[in-house]
């Protein structure tokens, strides 16, 4: 039986919180490594876009001098940050899928009954997803480098903080989705309404000014309101060692709001998780 002496032997709060962070990150990493197909598709998907799509439009869709670019750049250079964003976006949604899966198979209960504040446990999930996202981005950057896509040599380092922030933001949005997606079979349908609009209504494929020039003002407006656009632009500038403060601020705001909504959603007092279906009584 636990006693006061036992309680004294318990780990400190910070050490406990760090142990949980390590455990959650390790578990997510082990699951990722065990799923070879997921690892391959994480690199192949953006690489296909880079090799097939960007190569096809290499000379057609170049971008004139626009910050952060100092000169005319070819389309593969322009699209690279968008494809990095695609890796972050897919991983964020994959984290969401993993939570829905955990809920279905019962392992989520283990997480939610751990003796730590629920917000911290959910933040650990965000960090774990972000670690995986960053690793996948670097694998993709190696492919881009192999295909001679131009990038400042230091870009791989200067982009790291943007990858972390972008990964946290998109994982937090995935966390919100996981609250509302009740069953695994609903996931694919929901994702079609998230991933594709997020990607296409953004600056991943075309600059905002080009969208505006084409007269598609409502698409330009949607792109500006799209958190994915801000992640992509933040990454684009970071690759060139520059901080796009407006985009960074927007990403921070979207991340904070999404995380707060997710924490509320996972709160049994207020969120939807406390409302069990009848068959669980």
């Amino acid at each position: 039986m636990s006693t006061v002496a036992d309680a004294a032997a318990r780990p400190g709060r910070v050490r406990h919180a760090m142990a949980a962070l390590g455990a959650i990150t390790t578990r997510e990493t082990l699951r990722f490594v065990n799923q070879t197909g997921r690892l391959v598709s994480a690199v192949v998907r953006p690489s296909l876009w880079l090799v097939v799509f960007a190569a096809g439009f290499h000379d057609v869709l170049g971008v004139s001098v626009t910050p952060p670019y100092q000169s005319y750049v070819t389309y593969d250079v322009y699209i690279l940050p968008g494809l990095i964003g695609m890796v972050l976006l897919f991983q964020g949604m994959q984290s969401s899928l993993a939570l829905v899966f955990d809920r279905e198979v019962g392992t989520l209960r283990l997480l939610l009954t751990a003796p730590l504040p629920r917000a911290w446990l959910l933040f650990c999930k965000l960090v774990a997803g972000t670690v995986l996202a960053v690793l996948q981005v670097y694998a993709f950057l190696a492919v881009a480098w192999a295909f001679d896509v131009e990038m400042p040599p230091a870009g791989a380092l200067t982009v790291l903080p943007a990858l972390v922030l972008g990964g946290l933001c998109l994982s937090a949005i995935g966390l919100v989705l996981s609250v509302h997606i009740k069953r695994l079979e609903n996931f694919a349908g929901t994702m079609n309404f998230v991933i594709f609009p997020a990607f296409f209504f953004s600056t991943a494929l075309y600059p905002l000014w080009r969208i505006r020039e084409s007269g598609a003002s409502w698409i330009a407006w949607a792109a500006q309101a799209n958190p994915f656009t801000h992640v992509v632009e933040m990454v684009r500038f970071a690759l060139y060692g520059q901080a796009a403060w407006g985009n960074i601020g927007a990403v921070l705001a979207f991340a904070a709001i999404a995380f707060a909504v997710a924490v509320r959603g996972y709160d049994p007092q207020r969120g939807v998780l406390g409302r069990a279906p009848r068959d669980e009584t």
Binding site: A23, V105, L110, P268, R278
Partner: protein
């Protein structure tokens, strides 16, 4: 009372006037009980009685509409983290990660409960040795039988040295021999470690060894006390007959 202090005179679990509804359905209707520390209590009820709802409220997964829960004298609503630190839980639904090894699963749980380094290693060894499963350390859970998985879940629930053990239909999917073994193990653990055990089940034969039985039906407690007392009060020949009579009577009362 501070979060870490526990008074031995306080009950292990105290539940007062718990109400939980899902829309128009009342899953728990003013449920109250108190479990002495170190006791082995069975929560017996047919399917849909509200056992799992009660268990999920005790573990903080669901919130009650009203009422109060205290564990070792600590209010669940005021000290949820301290309460969860005292609970060992075996869920109705299996909660092991099938794609990880046994040791990886236990290490994950250890981390969630703040166990690291030598304490984590000792806790994992302890969980495995409880049922002599040391050889399965590197086996993927997917390859293990349902009975072995349940034993690992029970060992895991005890890794962080809880004072309370909650088991929700822990023998689901097990054959009769494995069921009997698991009940005997938990009974022995309760006696040896002074654990307060709440065992939710719909299988009457599992509760014969309990110190007390709480019979729950359609969200209400219809009887409680030692098994012999319940049998005597209902005038039945066995606990199973008493259970059937109590749940049938409760149904008729409500229909009327």
């Amino acid at each position: 009372m501070t979060a870490d202090r526990a008074d031995d005179a306080l009950p292990g679990i105290a539940v007062a006037d718990l109400v939980k509804t899902y829309g128009a359905v009342t899953a728990l209707d003013r449920v109250s009980f108190s479990l002495p520390r170190g006791s082995f209590t069975a929560l017996l009820g047919p399917n849909g009685a509200g056992k799992s709802t009660l268990m999920q409220i005790l573990t903080g997964l669901f919130a009650a509409d009203s009422g109060a829960v205290a564990v070792d004298g600590l209010s669940l609503s005021e000290n949820p983290v301290a309460v969860l630190a005292r609970l060992g839980i075996v869920f109705q639904q299996p909660s092991l990660d099938l794609d990880l090894t046994v040791a990886q699963n236990l290490a994950y749980f250890a981390g969630l409960h703040g166990l690291a380094g030598a304490r984590r290693a000792a806790a994992i060894d302890g969980a495995l040795s409880l049922f002599g499963l040391g050889d399965e350390r590197r086996t993927k859970v997917r390859k293990l039988s349902g009975g072995t998985r349940r034993k690992i879940e029970l060992g895991r629930a005890l890794m962080a040295d809880p004072s309370i053990l909650l088991l929700d239909e822990a023998t689901q999917g097990l054959d009769p021999a494995s069921r009997r073994d698991l009940v005997a193990h938990v009974r022995a653990l309760s006696d040896r470690r002074g654990l307060t055990v709440l065992w939710a089940t719909h299988i009457v034969s599992e509760v014969a060894a309990a110190d007390a039985v709480i019979v729950l039906d359609r969200g209400r407690i219809v009887a409680s006390g030692p098994p012999a007392q319940i049998v005597a009060e209902t005038g039945a020949g066995s606990l199973e007959e008493a259970f059937l009579a109590l749940t049938a009577r409760a149904g008729k009362d409500r229909a009327a």
